[in-house]
């Protein structure tokens, strides 16, 4: 066990050392793979930001129940009770007509109109966050709520949520396809890199096999090399995407500010980034494993 661990340690250190001995070739390999990885990574980051921009509505469709202007507190309480009993309702929030007017005045785009109003024309309302589920059930609920006394209007925001959700799903599918294609490309590039390395070390591999090296012993430095190239490429790709976001955020910030919002493109959480790096390393490992298995059986004696 100790010998096995020692060889793993030696293989990893030896491989890292060998990669640094050919910095030009290693850098070119890493950059080529990093650019390929940066495309799906960048698309993934933009998609994640689009989901964030969609905000809560992306996850939870909303229902707005506007009361008639003459509705009393008791009427509002009755409607609220009905809403709280509805199984599809996740969260019910009452927005009084005064709160609604105050929010309107805070909005840069609407504050002049709100200031010009003599009396508050806005109704009391309930905003209901719905549980994700059957759209037909949500529509039935909207119909039932619309039939309640003193309910003037029920506005279901499901349509735009559905469209946003569909667009995000489409984006996710495109990112998945792009990532798959470029992942295959990365495996192929690593396969070829390792093939050339194996041919360079052919004599040493043959000799090692003749004097008792197991296939795993021979394979180990090469799969470490593939994994290290994958990991380094992932890190460089991450740097490229982070740098791009920094540049884009200057303009994104200006655009968001013009809407009175504060929004910046962000990298995904550290856990997701770590998973991405592990995936890049795994792709490199897979390419190297395939390459060394194929070439080992060709010229190294059993």
């Amino acid at each position: 066990m100790r010998a096995w661990l020692r060889h793993h340690r030696q293989s990893l250190a030896g491989t890292a050392w060998r990669l640094t001995r050919t910095p030009g070739a290693t850098a070119l390999n890493v950059v080529a793979i990093a650019v390929a990885l940066a495309l799906p990574l960048g698309a993934w980051v933009l998609l994640a930001n689009a989901q964030r921009l969609g905000g809560h509505t992306a996850g939870y469709p909303q229902l707005s129940v506007f009361l008639a202007p003459e509705a009393s507190r008791a009427d509002a309480a009755r409607v609220e009770a009905a809403l709280r009993q509805a199984p599809a309702a996740r969260r019910v929030r009452f927005v009084s007509k005064d709160e609604a007017l105050a929010a309107l005045k805070r909005s840069e785009a609407m504050n002049e109109i709100a200031a010009a109003l003599g009396a508050n024309p806005l109704p009391d309302a309930f905003v209901v966050d719905l549980k994700p589920g059957d759209p037909a059930a949500v529509e039935r609920l909207a119909t039932e709520l619309g039939a309640l006394p003193k309910v003037a209007l029920v506005q279901l925001d499901a349509a735009w949520v559905k469209r946003l959700d569909a667009a995000l799903r489409l984006g996710a599918a495109m990112v998945a396809i792009l990532a798959s294609l470029l992942g295959v490309g990365m495996v192929a590039v690593t396969f070829n890199t390792i093939r050339l390395q194996i041919l360079t070390q052919r004599e040493e591999i043959e000799l090692a096999r003749l004097i008792g090296a197991t296939a795993a012993y021979v394979r180990r430095p090469f799969v470490y090399q593939g994994a290290l190239i994958g990991l380094a490429s992932g890190l460089v790709a991450l740097g490229l995407v982070a740098g791009s976001l920094r540049i884009l955020n200057v303009e994104v910030g200006r655009l968001a500010a013009s809407y009175g919002a504060d929004f910046r493109l962000q990298l995904p959480p550290i856990g997701d980034l770590a998973a991405m790096l592990a995936f890049a390393a795994a792709l490199g490992w897979a390419g190297a494993y395939l390459s060394v298995s194929r070439h080992l059986s060709r010229f190294a004696p059993h």
Binding site: R2, A3, W4, R6, H7, Q10, E203, E204, E206, L207, A208, R209, L210, I211, G212, A213, T214, A215, Y217, P301, H302
Partner: protein, 229 residues
């Protein structure tokens, strides 16, 4: 129990050529044996069957009682670690110095670096290359290169040492030196099997001579006396 035993071993290649034909012979543990024959007699093939570099088409090859033909791919490396191999084409790594070349079998076995260094220096010392451990193979003479191959073969303390034409490209003095080195290992209990075409060397050093001709064992001599082939 013989260290090496061939029982009616035939090695036939895909084109139908038979390098060994029903060859039977044995080498006792602790013996110094030679496979003697001209080029193409089957000496190299016989040596390759012992560490399972090649497999017999028929017959049984036993190494320390272990049937080599029955070993699976996972067991072969461990068989090879118990043998010391000196190859006809030497197989020295020319981008590594003498020390690193000799250390390779220990790296394969996962020896700790300190113990490996001690053993490598001991092996280089035994073959007279202790002062040349940092030399690259290209700077060594033919005899020194062959001695380095022997150091690499014995560094793992094998019970059996196999050498394929180790004196082929050496002058008489250097060839004799190499055989003396084999004899010194034999004297401490290592079974030695050397393939050679040099009758004089075989008769001078070996206690057992197996003469091959066109893949057949045509003569067995033990301690200078012919026995039934």
């Amino acid at each position: 129990m013989p260290a090496i035993s061939f029982n009616r071993v035939t090695r036939r290649y895909a084109d139908g050529f038979e390098a060994l034909r029903a060859a039977s012979f044995g080498v006792e543990a602790g013996e110094f044996a030679c496979l003697l024959g001209h080029s193409g007699a089957g000496k190299t093939t016989a040596l390759k069957l012992i560490p399972a570099i090649e497999r017999a088409t028929s017959g049984v090859v036993l190494v320390n009682g272990q049937n080599v033909g029955a070993l699976g791919p996972a067991a072969v490396p461990y068989l090879r670690r118990s043998l010391g191999l000196v190859f006809q084409d030497q197989k020295l790594l020319h981008d590594r110095n003498a020390f690193d070349n000799a250390a390779l079998p220990l790296a394969v076995c996962g020896q700790p670096p300190r113990e490996a260094a001690r053993r490598v220096r001991a092996a280089l010392d035994k073959v007279g290359l202790r002062e040349r451990e940092k030399s690259m193979p290209i700077t060594l003479s033919g005899g020194e290169q062959q001695r380095l191959c022997i150091a690499r073969a014995v560094v793992n303390r094998p019970s059996i040492l196999l050498a394929d034409e180790p004196t082929a490209n050496l002058d008489a003095a250097a060839a004799s030196d190499i055989m003396e080195i084999f004899r010194s290992f034999n004297q401490v209990g290592v079974t030695v099997l050397v393939a050679t075409h040099d009758l004089a060397l075989a008769e001078r050093f070996a206690t057992r001579v197996v003469r091959l001709d066109h893949g057949r064992v045509v003569e067995l001599r033990v301690a200078g006396q012919s026995v039934a082939a």
